[in-house]
Symmetry: C4
Subunit: 215 residues, 4 copies
């Protein structure tokens, strides 16, 4: 995809966050890798309804804008860290979506009790440590926590959710599904204990969904 | 209804799932029997906003497409099983709607504590066993669990909801009402124990709703 | 208001129920008194998106249509009973709105712990007995339960909500506010016990809202 | 901003309350300071869909309209009190938003357990005393409770939320974010105890968000 198409798609994906009710006011952001050593990301503090393809900020893999213009999201260094350390990642999403963040505030992973979780996340959605914004701490927390998990989503304690994907659209899908299952499992646990899915069944569901589902 | 009208209605019914907030991303599907030995169903993994009448996949009652084109939903064999074993069924819906699935994750039936449940479901909404996707297990779980219940909706453990109806529209109605009562009973139980409706009153309400309600 | 204006307003008020998420599928209904001895009401089982001013059914105060055409709501006899016994009532609304019905399923009144409740309801929202649809039982339960309460809303056990007003629009307002406070008080009680408002303050708030608020 | 631009923006900000689902029926209001000794505020009891720039009521700092016309919101004296005692305030918002009001009904402050709370509120969202509408009591409760807190939002017991800002838009942002964090912390506490963020980290997050975030 060329730079212009990426900008258009990235602006559109930000609207998916709004339509899916994953973000409030200016919180949250999506980024998309462009070529090997650049990525586009939401500008800092700009309302979603004013985002345009042109307002997306092109950055290098250290998180610095490659041209003068709008400042990138203050989460830019977390995104940059992920792109530097995960060559397979083409898109990153960050939200404070309600139910997922409610789990994160208790420092709890979301257990795999739904076939939809086995399909998309291949097991639990893990939770990583508290980390302050602005440096490499959040990026490192994302990458280290996702090691050893199939999940493209990670909760960060007291903070929110980061998701990754082969493309920005896949990362947005993971953010949507993360909130969906976070909500369902939350509700289920309010009235008792949801039942775990045996690991061989989780494996079977994950394998099928990743390799057979879709066109 | 001819094939073209069925396709148009089936595409429209998928939008009802979206508008009723019963589905996330590409999850969920509706099918409609066409004649005695065919049914139309959603294609696998296609976003709801791109569904068209033409994209609906015509299958035989073994769940195989009758023409080259898009792959059917990966739930196609469950739908096919239902059509083969229930000649009265003209439509099937599958969702992971939030509150119903929260009950399913605990392997709990939804008790009949609302007149709206007595009207539409004639008693509890039962829960069936865990079953893996791809073969006949889910279809069999649906058909066997619904035996001996008036309910057109069944929860499947750790999974979600299937509903049936004389038409696809009736099955969609059952899916909408299932989530509605699942939510209300869930909330009611959060703060105490909802009161059961005596069986004779359930019978009376069900009889009236099925035979007197509507035009 | 003449008959034609009443029909137009009544159709529009049904859309307010939809927009306020108080109703699912064809459940719920609004009626409006026309003159002294007639009222208009929703037809039975017609989807909200197909309601037109012409489809509203004109009935006498025994609940019988005054002309051939669509059947009235199956709640028509409850509405009729209210109009016969409460000359001050110009509109009636019935819903199964989620949070209010969750209270009703436990047979619990909603305690007055919000200034917004004191304003609109002047105290608790009471709960009446279980009653079967189709005769005078529901109407009697509404009228008897509202005696001795300022509230224009009443919960019926295992069923839902009825609201009354000087006009259909006022009854719709009461239905919207009933669900709003039912939800807030429900949520508040999930994490502890909301504090009661002393009766003199309830009285003061109710008096001011009924007599000073608005233009 | 001249009077005409203020009216247009204030009418638009009321629609943000509706779109953000912070208000039901005619409840809630926004005001905006105009010059040093005037402010514009919502008229009393007018439905949100009928609000126009012209319908906003210009008042002096005692809360009295400066011209004949619509009556101001019955919360006008609370807004006036805030403008008289806080020269830094350019906008005030009042809502009964659901989750925040659920905390207020229990007389509980919302603890700072989310980075988004540290960013916007700099600590807990405090709760002030019960106060009757119509005089100076509510205004005094707002101003006194906010002393010694960084939070631009305050809960009032049994009532709802007031937020302040350098502009009306900033106060609306605080109202949106207040409900967002009230909901997330509420949900988190339903299933356990959310973890506090250490005060030095709260301070660091607040400082950064107030001084670095945005363009």
């Amino acid at each position: 995809m060329n730079d212009s198409a990426s900008r258009t798609e990235l602006a559109a994906l930000h609207q998916v966050l709004v339509e899916s009710a994953l973000v409030a006011w200016t919180a949250g952001n999506v980024s998309a890798r462009v070529g090997d050593d650049r990525f586009l990301i939401k500008p800092s503090g700009v309302p979603y309804e004013r985002l345009t393809p042109e307002s997306m900020v092109l950055c290098d893999l250290d998180g610095h804008p490659v041209a003068a213009g709008l400042k990138p999201s203050s989460d830019v260094f977390a995104h940059a860290y992920v792109y530097r350390h995960r060559a397979d990642v083409g898109g990153v999403v960050h939200t404070h979506s309600t139910y997922a963040t409610a789990w994160a505030a208790r420092d709890e992973a979301i257990p795999c009790v739904l076939t939809a979780m086995a399909d998309e996340f291949g097991g639990e959605i893990p939770v990583g440590p508290f980390a302050l914004i602005g440096g490499e701490d959040i990026g490192r927390a994302i990458v280290q926590t996702l090691e050893g998990h199939r999940s493209p989503a990670v909760l960060l304690r007291n903070h929110g959710v980061f998701t990754i994907g082969g493309s920005a659209r896949e990362a947005v899908k993971a953010a949507v599904m993360c909130e969906d299952v976070a909500r369902t499992v939350h509700l289920s646990r309010q009235l008792g204990e949801p039942l775990a899915i045996p690991q061989p069944d989780v494996d079977s569901l994950y394998d099928r969904y990743q390799n057979v589902y879709g066109q």
